[in-house]
Homo-oligomer: 285 residues x 4
């Protein structure tokens, strides 16, 4: 699709033909599986994270998402439970045999987050934080690189190239919506970038329709659309009491909406002869 | 999803709860059917349009798209066959029992296009051409209103409101990509707007992934994604010789890609317990 | 500044080296003069337009702006006085020896607007209304082509090329803000395009900071900035009672703000050894 | 201009009425002076930085800009001389009695950059790097906060609020262009935000037309425009051999262009009864 010489190399299909598959202890990302990552926007307290985690484990969800360090636009907003949040999330995930994905916001926090997480997430505001990318290139755990809110595909792949060129090839990309003039949705979820990424790169691509739209009512259809666009997985926010959530409650699914999502994604994956990762046998850690 | 009072009325679900269904002689748009509109970007000559039309009719495609009057960025580009193009398209469609959708660019052309088309299309550059919208509010044929390339959902619905408030309620909306900073794709196809539109309005929503992405390689996945996002139909460009096309060849499907599209869309529609319109019995005009 | 072959020709400096100067009966646009066009967003009634016109004539303003046919996002908003508005504006301008600029929204209205206006304006929503551009290429009066709200410089110059290639070389361009993610201002006034336009094209460039920002408080500084960016003129909205205006009152200057604008623009123009057109002798029509 | 309650406080004019003035050893920023910051995009070697610095000192420029740690889109691009670059810049500035502004990219680098710089700059990619903002809120040197390339004014002011609320009130803002659909210029310089910022905030506002446009030919007019829009200063890139520059040569001024800039900015500042900071007496450090 692109003729001109690409400025990236290690992330490209020309460099490596076959899909990158990222192996976790209890599941794998990429290569045909559809991963479903779910959890609250932010870890708020023990009760909340254990309640959500127990609920998710009944659906056999393999990967728990949750924010411990939260980048917030205002210094006066809830900034996360920090290390306490990491510990709570780790404990909840361990109890229910799940993997943990959570954001690392700064080079100084890499060691701490590494200790508790199975996947380290780079947030949209840090996609071009090159010191952080270099630090993550030196670890042996997977990294999920969210797209910068105004980053082109090329800039995004070059940010991934920072991690791969430093020595860490366990990288997945996450489309989470871009900033445009339209504000009927919080961001504009750019699903067209998904098949394009899959053709030029071997890295797994995850889609986050919660951040991407900001509206829980459209998370289910957009998750299904993401899978048929070619995504290797979907990350969604779910909360036991969305209307009480300390951050981003409007985009968090109710439990029954999440159950509906699972049912519909199973049907959707079949169109491409794929399966959701939660359809595979449960493996306790 | 929206709390503040809406500036539009007739197009809203609050005004009319049930889906608008637009009846054509050989099919219907909206209300559960998935419509597939296909044809070349521009009508180029008799051989081209009849060849394409014959091919499409074998797949039982009900609605032929094609440009006779083409809005082109440069005055030096091919501007379409104009009235001759309309006649050719009408003849080809009649031979194969299809309906015709084509663009009307100006108030002065409404009568002429009305004579040959079954659906009159308002192009992205004319979405806020209010004189044209008013002229189309006075006719008794359906109108497809493409989204302006930088129009918000609210502006789009207000443009539709011009047509309904003038007396024509046979209006469908067509998402065709918005203009953003990203140029890996020609436009950014905003699928997130589809479920939102369906919740606030009763009008059918069509998605055009050919214009929306500009890349034929991703038209198939994006068409499938559009259907699961909730679209009532998909409009695609197809050409017997895309590499020779007089306009937009890069985004036109080859015939075998189109066949693949039909197969995959049938499977996709089943996820929502819907059918493609071309799965219903063939009715010759 | 640009190396690749340009897709436009007649509008380029390569085609014509010297600045295009557009001669009106009472002033000239381009070629060193700084034109100041002013008036209400919309003509509302006789008293309003005569009051404003009388005020402007005291400052020796040469060109009266005002909308008679108004393109409005909602069909339920005030749509302008139409032909009555054209007549009122013409009468007011004639009484005070001014030229008239007003928008033409449709091919069907070209003859009517031609009769009353000295400059015909193409609005932002019609920049790519090619039938209208072609109709305006056949007249012998000047045309001001506003930039489409999401049009690139190249698309804009190609739209101007439609008019020149049809035979009318009295074309000026008007930057009026583009649509971006930022909504602190109504649009984002792209002053950087002004010196770029002046280097690639010989056409006069006008800047409209009223539409461009939507905030009267910043119209004065942005007008001064526009002149030093290289604009050949500024178009502003002024109203005798902005808070009562039927459209866009928030961006209309009060009379005393307009007087301040004139004082400051005179000083500003001197930096470039230029003069405002209203500093030249008053010529009654 | 804004009616709703603002989410920021310490940065607002409502909190502090009078302009913030940031005192350096050899000049002051804000409060009526027009600051001119100049230097190369990146420090490349001793000869380059001393040559440029000597040239600038002849014009009595007070603040030297230059990158030692360079955030680059590709991991394979020149990343700056790092600490060696800081030392070179400090030595050159000291020899010629200038202050130094340079970027700090990471919390781990705050101490090092603090040692050599007089003003610490936060780059566009780090505007929402909240750990970095918090670290900078604890130092006693001024911080220049560049606008994120897709940040709204509100997000920008909230990022500044992070620094002020942590204890450092020596903050200035720098508009450097936003990302839009237009790519005739590298970014879209949003001058309209300048008078708006000055009305809602007491912080000094600097404009960077080099980054903002990416085209040296339009840096001079855009600098003049910035001053009349209300900016407290301008930051430009200048290089002894732009065509040989290791980064961003296309936007760096030649020496004679810089001299022209100084002449024209002096005239421009007079329009507002202001002076360039380089017009004041030379003070050797």
């Amino acid at each position: 699709m692109e003729k001109k010489r690409k400025p990236y190399q290690l992330v490209s299909r020309e460099w490596k033909k076959e899909d990158t598959i990222i192996q976790l202890k209890n599941t794998a990302i990429g290569g045909g599986n559809i991963s479903l990552m779910a959890g609250p926007c932010a870890v708020e307290n023990e009760d909340q994270i254990f309640t959500i985690c127990e609920f998710l484990s009944k659906q056999n969800v393999k990967i728990l998402r949750g924010g411990a360090y939260k980048p917030r636009t205002s210094p006066y907003s809830f900034q996360g439970l920090k290390k306490d949040g990491l510990i709570l999330m780790r404990n909840a995930a361990d109890k229910y045999g799940m993997s943990v994905i959570t954001e690392v916001m700064d080079t100084n926090l890499v060691d701490e987050v590494y200790q508790y997480a199975d996947i380290l997430q780079v947030g949209t505001r840090n996609m071009q934080n090159y010191q952080l990318l270099r630090a993550l290139s030196k670890i042996d755990k997977p990294v999920m690189l969210k797209r910068g809110m105004s980053s082109t595909m090329e800039e995004w792949l070059l940010a991934a190239e920072y991690i791969l060129s430093g020595g860490n090839d366990k990288v997945m990309l996450c489309e989470r919506g871009i900033r445009t003039f339209e504000n009927a949705t919080r961001n504009t979820l750019d699903l067209g970038i998904v098949p394009l990424l899959k053709s030029v790169s071997h890295l797994p691509v995850i889609v986050d329709p919660s951040q991407g739209t900001g509206l829980r009512e459209i998370v289910v259809p957009m998750s299904m659309a993401a899978v048929l666009a070619g995504a290797d997985g979907v990350m969604v926010e779910v909360h036991n009491q969305p209307e009480e959530a300390l951050s981003d409650g409007d985009q968090s699914l109710y439990f029954d909406q999440f159950n509906d999502l699972v049912t519909k994604l199973k049907r959707t994956a079949k169109v491409l002869d794929k399966n959701l990762d939660l359809e595979s046998e449960k493996i306790l850690a």
